[in-house]
Amino acid sequence: MIFSAEEAVSAVRDGDTVLVGGFGMAGMPVELIDALIEHGAGDLTIVSNNAGNGDTGLAALLAAGRVRKVVCSFPRQTDSWVFDGLYRAGQIELEVVPQGNLAERLRAAGAGIGAFFSPTGVGTPLAEGKESRVIDGREYLLEYPIRGDVALIRAHVADRMGNLVYRKTARNFGPVMATAAAVTIAQVARIVDVGQLDPEVIVTPAIYVNRLVQV
């Protein structure tokens, strides 16, 4: 269960879809991304809220040419120059997904839902090509699950089985991404013995966690 960052990310293979937690820097698994860059897997699809900031983390992964496609809600930021450059040069694909659909599609993947009718995006350009249906007088769009081969997330404390708790708004995408990937790798600040976490407050049960990295 407990790995070095290098060993942990060796689960990622060329062509994989990798779910990357975090909203801005809160919950961003920085050390796992660094290890992934070092690891060298390429042709990746990255699912994350943003498409990298500055020159580190996801931006560095993009800059290293390892990413074929980004699925995110908000790629364009003041410091997203790496993504912007690749996108304008036609060197990276982009699927823009409203943030709530992103979260709900990840949840659907984890929960065995085949597809769901979402209220978001009706009448907008993002509805193009989507099946729509009026239910009880309201229009919805059909949205499909987003599954990952690997999820890289950051939590606060884990026990040795892999139960996780998070800290404040760094919780964000971690709990849903953990359910949506075949292999979930969590970096945590601290690993405690089994029995040290209160069963009432565990946010991600160990069943969803395959590898722990303490950083």
């Binding site: 809160a26 823009v96 943030q99 998070y166 404040k168």
Partner: protein, 213 residues
């Protein structure tokens, strides 16, 4: 005299019911928080996963794990709760927030909202939570200047920019007037430093003037 941004924020704050659950969009809407009375019982939601958000954090209060949807450090109030992104957007999309306040590029008389893209051919699309907020809250208030830099009104018969949501806005707060919008069209609620006639003339479309105006 038209309103300053601070005055607009104050007017919006005045219209938020006591005890309401409210999401303040990125940018100008965040200023509304400064004008909510501490005893109003209004609870702020931030879609990255929190109810009970407090004011911006400064100095030692800054915690990289505690930010708002604009990724700025904020504080936590007593009674706060944290939750993950799917739960946060379920809260929003399920219609549990009383009010959401957003900026806009354009709002149509029937309440269509355009605030995520100018449709410029070279723009990189980015939507964030705007479309979820637009359709999720019980009421969507827009805060914006009534006229763009080029002088064209942003309250329009039909949005020309790509939509964020259809028929979702109920109130539009601008520097020169407050409007209600919806299935019956745009109605002037209050004007600031301009007469209703001037306003109708400058906006260039039919506006019903409220009996209270």
């Amino acid at each position: 005299m038209s309103l300053s941004r601070e005055q607009m924020a104050e007017i919006v704050a005045r219209d938020i019911p006591e005890g309401a659950y409210v999401n303040l969009g990125i940018g100008q809407p965040t200023m509304v928080a400064d004008y909510l009375r501490p005893d109003s019982g209004v609870v702020l939601h931030t879609e990255n996963g929190m109810l009970g958000m407090g004011r911006p954090a400064t100095g030692d209060e800054i915690d990289p794990d505690l930010t708002n949807a604009g990724k700025q450090p904020v504080t936590e109030l007593p009674g706060a709760a944290y939750f993950h992104h799917a739960d946060s957007f379920a809260m929003m999309r399920g219609g549990h927030l009383d009010v959401c306040i957003m900026g806009a590029f354009q709002v149509s008389a029937r309440g269509d909202l355009a605030n995520w893209s100018t449709g410029a051919p070279d723009a990189i699309p980015a939507v964030g939570g705007a479309m979820d907020l637009a359709i999720g809250a019980k009421q969507v208030f827009v805060m914006m200047s009534l006229f763009a830099k080029d002088g064209r009104p942003k309250l329009v018969p039909e949005c020309t920019y790509p939509l964020t949501g259809r028929g979702c806005v109920s109130r539009v707060y601008t520097d020169v007037a407050t409007f209600s919008v919806g299935p019956d069209g745009a109605r002037i609620i209050e004007t600031f430093g301009i007469t209703a006639d001037e306003l109708i003339n400058r906006v260039g479309m039919p506006l019903v003037s409220s009996p209270f105006d």
